[in-house]
């Protein structure tokens, strides 16, 4: 039995199994349904920890003993996804049995189209998976207050978790897309049924926006699929395909395999950097020659055909990158695709806001990191300048827009937009030299995603706590909550400071790492781009402080006789918020806890991208 397959699949499908289990609960047992769902999310968390332990053990087994600055050992290059995928293919070819401890699981699913049930884990997805399972667990605790259609709510909630986890685990583009869509529908209903007064509008807006993006992803997915990748696929696959057509020329190979597609994309980038026609010919010839050693001799016509490879054309990369980017940018969200977010957040019930801000936004960043950048690196590099500008607009615009809000939840929603801008900024600062700093940026972006997952979920929860008592969210009508609710006030202050990026709390780490990398960014046309961006980013720190402190002042400070007798935060609410608060502190003080197992693969991504001929 392949352990990692079992673990990862269990992790994905346990929530669904529990959702099915909910069907057997009779009416009137709402309390048990909640407990059942809570147990489901807890079990998922436990299994994600098993996956993590496996993954960590794998990193420990494959450590590079040569690279030891300051006496620290780092994970070996053989733990990178691409290396593991190749090794797994070799192992399978040799022994017929898949290896069960490499964090990869790969089985044919729809053979006709080469679609596979292909799951895999590396630092990037592992971090996201852990964040997901933790936040779903905590959001389930926060869901106790939901009274309407509890069974339906819990089922949709659990199915949503399956969708999200599947998206993070999938290494097959098709599988990814399916989970991506699976996630969409529960969210629509969760906002549309359990939301606030304008829930239908918000739900439809959310749905249409995301669907709009999904269409672009679908186009890109198909475009990749219809590209022949036989020059890059493992020789076993090619041999099998050729055997199938029985000598009627060579078979075309189409794939949804993200790891393979990334390899193709990188080769395409290599090729596009070549100067002359002759060099390009030589380059293709080399690919063909390599194949030749493995099977029938190739004709000059084959070389010509490969010169026409879609991946080798800048236009293809541009268009595909933009398609993917738009699809994922809507999720992040990037200006100007962001307006679904304030509405969806405001109308969604508290736990769903937590999920939305804490996890669903990260899917966008994850998609960019996992799909858009590796497959279309050339376009990503060429467009880096514009991506940075978009990110900067996000940061500044979000901060200013947040400042002008009077709805508490909307303010937090806009702060999310601003903070997610740092994620894109960290990813986008592809410099001309000194890639070290880009690695900081990428790691910072990943860290920012985790930190924002914690802080924004916490912020939304804090808003939810007060909304349950005051039944409004108008910032101008609060004041003075600190006196009746000191514990709540203190925890909120902590969470909001984490959002503000106060050192010692999680929000600071990612932001700082991203800003550190920004100064170094430059393009041949804009040698000072990074400096301007970094200065703007540094100045936004002031705006962020201003709107968060102003909010704290308007909500918690001062006096207000109307709220004099409010009950402080309840034990159930404490159970939900305390883990977030602790995470916010621990991740702020010891980023190494996350970085040590996440960094090898994020930096590995940077390495694999910049090792291309620049």
């Amino acid at each position: 039995m392949e352990t990692d397959l079992l673990m990862m699949s269990l992790c994905i499908f346990i929530p669904s199994a529990f959702a099915l289990g909910l069907l057997f609960f009779p009416k009137g047992t709402e309390e048990y349904m909640r407990w059942w769902s809570l147990v489901g999310t807890a079990a998922t968390f436990v299994f994600s920890m098993f996956v993590f332990i496996d993954y960590y053990a794998m990193l420990q087994r494959n450590q590079d003993n040569t690279l030891t600055p300051a006496g620290i050992r780092r994970a070996d290059a053989s733990t990178q996804l691409s290396a593991r995928a190749e090794a797994a293919a070799n192992v399978k070819a040799r022994s017929g049995e898949p290896s069960s401890d490499d964090g990869l699981a790969r089985y044919p699913w729809i053979g006709r189209f080469g679609i596979e049930y292909y799951l895999g884990i590396d630092g990037i997805s592992m971090a996201m998976v852990l964040l997901t399972t933790v936040l779903f667990f905590l959001s389930m605790i926060a869901s106790w207050g939901i009274e309407k259609h509890v069974k339906g709510y819990c089922m949709l909630f659990l199915i949503l978790e399956t969708g999200v986890l599947g998206t993070f685990f999938a290494l097959d583009f098709f599988l990814f897309y399916i989970f991506w869509e699976v996630m969409l529908l529960p969210m629509y209903f969760l906002i549309g049924i359990w939301g606030g007064p304008r829930r239908e509008y918000a739900a439809i807006k959310f749905f249409l926006y995301t669907l709009f993006g999904s269409v672009f992803i679908l186009i890109a997915l198909l475009a990749f699929y219809f590209t022949d990748v036989q020059d890059f696929a493992p020789k076993e696959t090619v041999a099998a395909a050729n055997a199938a057509v029985k000598g009627k020329g060579t078979a075309e190979i189409h794939t949804f395999d993200l790891v393979l597609l990334a390899k193709v994309g990188k080769q395409g980038m290599d090729w596009m950097h070549l100067e002359s026609e002759a060099e390009r010919k030589k380059f293709v010839q080399a690919i063909v020659d390599r194949r030749e050693k493995e099977r029938n001799p190739t004709s000059a016509a084959d070389v010509e055909r490969r010169l026409e490879q879609a991946f080798f054309s800048p236009t293809f990369q541009y268009v595909m990158f933009l398609f993917l980017f738009v699809g994922f940018a809507i999720k992040v969200p990037i200006f100007p695709f962001h307006t679904w977010l304030p509405d969806a957040h405001v109308e969604a019930p508290t736990p769903i806001s937590m999920i939305l801000a804490g996890i669903l936004l990260k899917l966008g960043g994850y998609g960019i990191l996992r799909i858009a950048y590796p497959i279309c690196p050339w376009a990503a590099h060429a467009l880096a300048y514009y991506l940075c500008i978009l990110a900067m607009i996000n940061i500044i615009y979000g901060a200013f827009a947040a400042m002008a809000q009077t709805d508490f939840k909307k303010l937090v929603a806009y702060s999310s937009i601003s903070h997610m801008g740092y994620v894109l900024l960290g990813i986008a600062v592809w410099p001309e030299s000194n890639f070290n700093n880009w690695a900081w940026g990428m790691n910072g972006a990943m860290y920012q995603m985790i930190a924002h997952g914690i802080s924004s979920a916490g912020m939304f929860f804090c808003v939810g706590v007060i909304y349950d008592r005051a039944h409004h969210r108008n910032l101008d009508n609060f004041r003075g909550l600190n006196e009746p609710m000191p514990l709540y006030g203190g925890i909120s202050a902590l969470i909001f400071f984490a959002g503000l990026g106060l050192p010692g709390l999680c929000g600071f780490v990612g932001e700082f790492m991203v800003i550190l990398s920004t100064w170094n960014f430059s393009t041949p046309d804009h040698p000072h781009a990074g400096k301007v961006l970094a200065i703007l980013a540094a100045l936004t720190v002031v705006i962020t402080a201003a709107y968060i402190l102003w909010t704290l002042q308007r909500v918690y400070l001062g006096t207000n006789p109307a709220y004099k007798d409010y009950k402080d935060i309840t034990p159930r609410e404490l159970v939900c918020i305390i883990p977030l608060a602790i995470l916010a502190i621990v991740l702020g003080i010891l980023p190494v806890l996350i970085l040590q197992w996440m960094e090898p693969h994020v930096t590995g991504l940077v390495d694999s991208l910049v090792q291309l001929k620049m």
């Binding site: 300051a70 720190v541 190494v592 960094e599």
Partner: protein, 891 residues
């Protein structure tokens, strides 16, 4: 040094961690107590725990925890300081030897004898200081026989006082140097400055904790009445928050100590922000008051403006140096003293510890460039190798040198000179924010909304001093241009603040502006090359300003939270200890001879004068501080006279005034003693012979400032620096003249104060009426708030509004328009559907229906008719079949 031996430097780390431990304890304590509160009435066990944790009424225990923590921290740092004092001499000697050996290879045995003598001497001191040092002695004895490994010894000694831990790391393979710029560390490094600061901060903090136990005793009540907050039902009532106050104080102490402990810019930045947030929390301690929460926000946001500059500085240094560690940055930005040829020379002049500039000749694609070194001019500055390669060639005048834009540890790099300036200015902007310098000084007076001990600790003695401390720390990073900016900012600040302090009537506001003004002095001193003078003033000022603030706190406490000096007067007989100790503080800040302020201020003025003598067009840098020295004396005595002498202005206040209890007066007395004597030296009449100043100067002053082997008549090193040789020499020569000038000015200020406020010969109201415009301008604090409100706050809010409107009207408007159009289009297509497509289908249906309903008549429901139809139909079929058959011709 054996690895398992404890580093004495860890004493300082422990001192730093004690307050955060206290903070954590108090936080959990308070949180659990509050969380149990609602359940205490239902459950006996919970009730027991609740009562055990202090029950409903705030108790004094939190104060004891916090005070014990900071007291212990003081003991730790004091012990650490003593050990450090014992070892620093040897360390310094070794370093000197090392440098000498590098500069003159082959000659390094010359000083050996002398060296050993010194070492012995030091050893004796060590023995006196601590018995545990015996092992060290053995080592030195052993070293006498064996050939000396200077570097090894030095490193061993140095390692006792520094350490670092990784905080975040990234290892890309693509960089040629995997170690470079990949690690953010937190660490500690103790030098004389840090050690002295540690003792100062922990000592003052301990006293202020003690003082607060008395001052904050109101908070011990179950319900506190806040006189400043009015509600519909009279004054506002709230729970007492005694514990919370001490919790915040502990957090602050941790942040501040961590800032001093740091061996890198990053850690300083972290503490910097933490200090800011503590300041936010403590200014907003009475958060029910709108003024307090506004002041807290203002303080933090203003500080963040400075921090934005700080971040920019950090970015520049990170990008070019790849590290935040002070020692590494300094080693990279300033030329080492020696290369493989003995010494680094640019032309005739020695280039040791200089920023070396040159012009780019050509850039190469691999990132390297050839740089021609001219005589101190050029677009780029050299970045020197961190790890000196075996053969190390310094850049020489007029020759080309290869350097890399992105240097490895053993390569030269280069940084555009303007970026070095921008980076320095950025760091300085951070200091401007934190130290409330012009133009970001606006937050400090507002910060007086916090409780008075907070004002004393944070907004006078420590946090605001952090800016000055950082300038002192980063000194080698600053180019001449940056230093000049610092000097001017300091000069402007000290004058502006002093001028405002003259008209303030709130006792704490006067002190606040005097703090701003004194911080300006420190900045000025640093800017004109008086490193020691500036930092010495930082230390002395901390004592007397803490004293003054605590004194004012005692007055305010005695007068039942009356802060307005117009309601005081004649309080001397009522609170003698407070009055006398405050007088000590006033005398110290005025720069009266033999009081601590005199030592530092005199040196500052001398430094400014020296600078002015060399650079005549910068006369303001001397004139402003000189005049302000008089103004300072005037407003400080004005404050003292208005408070303690003359007739009581408000009988009610006077009648209730009383001396404060011992926890408040004891700190006052201790601080008064130190305000007088902290800077003493021998002989006391020579301000430049202050013991503290000497320690700072000798052991901690950066090499940029101190250079060369100039010795004065007494055999002491003269503070002569590379960048400020002539200035400092001139300062030394004119020290006496400046001293007399300053005394004169102080005398004039005192005379004015006596005339106006003590003897009442002239009525200060007359002056007010004579120059109403000036008075209003000063009362409005030079209109900075109004200016910022118009220039920054309102535009920011306006932009925020625009952004929101762009969202609602532009983007959502566009989307809704698209949605609207879609709906419209679908309405039309719906009409088409219904009219034409559905219409035709419906027509068919209608026709069938009509036929059906006509045919329905046949269904009569009568059995007979059905049978008739049946029969008829059968007949009909038969006839048809028959007709068909016959038509076919069948028979």
């Amino acid at each position: 040094m054996p690895e398992n031996e404890l580093q004495p430097g860890l004493l300082f780390v422990v001192a730093t961690l004690l307050p955060i431990a206290s903070f954590t304890i108090l936080l959990l304590w308070g949180a659990i107590r509050w969380a149990l509160r609602p359940y205490a009435s239902d459950n006996a066990t919970v009730k027991t725990i609740f009562e055990g944790l202090g029950g409903a009424v705030p108790g004094q225990a939190p104060a004891y925890v916090a005070t014990a923590a900071i007291g212990l921290a003081f003991l730790c740092s004091f012990a650490g300081f003593c050990i450090f004092l014992a070892e620093v001499g040897e360390m310094h000697e070794l370093k000197h030897k090392l440098d000498h050996a590098k500069l003159h290879p082959g000659h390094h045995d010359d000083h050996d004898h002398d060296k050993n003598e010194k070492a012995k001497h030091n050893e004796q001191k060590v023995d006196k200081a601590k018995d545990a040092k015996g092992e060290e002695k053995k080592k030195v004895d052993a070293a006498k026989q064996a050939p000396r490994n200077l570097q090894g010894e030095y490193n061993a000694l140095k390692n006792r006082w520094e350490g670092a831990w990784d905080w975040a790391r990234v290892f890309p393979k693509s960089t040629h140097d995997s170690a470079r710029g990949s690690i953010l560390q937190i660490g500690f490094r103790i030098d004389m400055l840090a050690a002295v600061m540690f003792v100062m901060v922990t000592f003052i903090a301990t006293l202020i904790h003690l003082f607060s136990i008395g001052y904050m005793s109101d908070e011990l009540q179950k319900e506190v009445e806040d006189h400043e907050v009015h509600t519909a039902h009279g004054h506002y009532h709230r729970r007492g928050r005694f514990g919370r106050f001490f919790m915040f104080l502990s957090l602050f102490c941790f942040s501040m100590l961590n800032l001093i402990l740091a061996d890198n810019l990053f850690q300083i930045f972290v503490s910097w922000e933490l200090v800011g947030i503590c300041s936010f929390l403590l200014i907003g301690f009475y958060f029910e008051r709108t003024s307090a929460s506004n002041a807290a926000n203002k303080a933090f946001i203003t500080n963040r403006i400075g921090d934005a500059g700080f971040i920019i500085g950090l970015l520049i240094f990170w990008t070019y140096f790849g590290t935040f560690n002070f020692q590494e940055i300094f080693a990279r930005v300033r030329a080492p003293e020696a290369d493989s040829h003995g010494a680094i020379k640019l032309g005739k002049e020695s280039a040791g510890h200089k920023i070396v500039r040159g012009n780019l000749v050509k850039k190469y694609p691999d990132g390297s460039a050839s740089i021609k070194v001219e005589n101190g001019v050029g677009d780029v500055a050299f970045i020197f190798p961190r790890e000196t390669p075996g053969h190390f060639d310094a850049p020489r005048l007029g020759r080309e040198k290869y350097a890399y834009h992105d240097p490895a540890p053993t390569q030269y790099g280069y940084i555009p000179y303007w970026l070095l300036i921008v980076g320095g200015l950025g760091i300085f902007l951070g200091c401007v924010g934190k130290s409330a310098q012009f133009p970001l000084q606006v937050w400090l007076p507002d910060a007086m909304e916090g409780p008075t001990p907070v004002s004393a600790l944070i907004h006078a003695a420590t946090m605001v001093a952090a800016g000055v401390y950082l300038v002192g720390r980063c000194y080698p990073l600053f180019t001449v241009e940056v230093l000049l900016t610092i000097a001017y900012v300091g000069a402007i600040t000290l004058f502006v603040a002093a001028s405002i302090a003259v008209v303030m009537t709130d006792i704490k506001k006067v002190l606040a502006y005097s703090t701003v003004s004194q911080l300006g002095y420190m900045m000025l001193a640093l800017g004109v090359g008086g490193w020691t003078a500036g930092l010495l003033h930082l230390l002395t000022h901390a004592f007397f300003k803490a004293l003054l603030f605590l004194g004012s706190g005692s007055v305010i406490y005695g007068c039942h939270h009356q802060q307005d000096m117009l309601k005081m007067g004649g309080l001397y007989p009522k609170m003698k200890i407070t009055a006398l100790t405050m007088l000590m503080g006033v005398l110290a800040i005025a720069g009266t001879p033999f009081f601590s302020g005199w030592y530092s201020k005199d040196e500052i003025l001398a430094g400014a004068f020296g600078f002015f003598m060399v650079n005549k067009h910068h006369f303001l840098l001397f004139l402003l501080p000189l005049v302000t020295a008089g103004i300072t004396t005037f407003y400080m005595f004005r404050m003292w006279f208005m408070t303690f002498t003359g007739k009581p202005r408000d009988e009610h206040v006077y009648d209730h005034a009383h001396e404060s209890p011992w926890p408040m007066t004891v700190p006052l007395i201790l601080l008064a003693i130190l305000s007088v004597g902290v800077a003493w030296g021998w002989p006391p009449h020579e301000p430049s012979h202050s013991w503290l100043g000497h320690q700072l100067h000798h052991y901690s002053q950066p090499k940029t400032v101190e250079f060369g082997d100039l010795v004065d008549d007494h055999g002491h090193g003269i503070p002569v620096d590379v960048d400020f040789v002539a200035e400092n020499r001139s300062a030394l020569e004119n020290h006496a003249i400046v001293g007399f000038l300053a005394l004169g000015v102080v005398g004039i200020g005192l005379a004015f104060a006596l005339v106006l406020y003590y003897y009442g010969v002239l009525d200060p109201e007359d002056a007010k009426e004579q120059f109403p415009g000036v008075h209003r301008f000063l009362m409005n604090k030079w209109c900075f708030d109004e200016f910022y409100s118009a220039a920054l706050v309102r535009p920011a809010l306006q932009i925020a509004h625009w952004c929101r409107n762009v969202d609602t009207y532009a983007i959502d408007g566009f989307l809704n328009l698209v949605g609207h159009w879609t709906v419209l289009t679908s309405a039309w297509s719906g009409r088409f559907d219904r009219g034409i497509i559905d219409g035709s289908v419906n027509l068919l249906a209608d026709v069938s229906y009509a036929i059906g309903s006509w045919l329905r008549n046949v269904q009569t429901g009568y059995l007979r008719s059905y049978i008739l139809f049946l029969a008829l139909a059968a007949m009909g079929v038969w006839i048809l079949l028959y007709a068909w058959a016959s038509a076919l011709g069948a028979p």
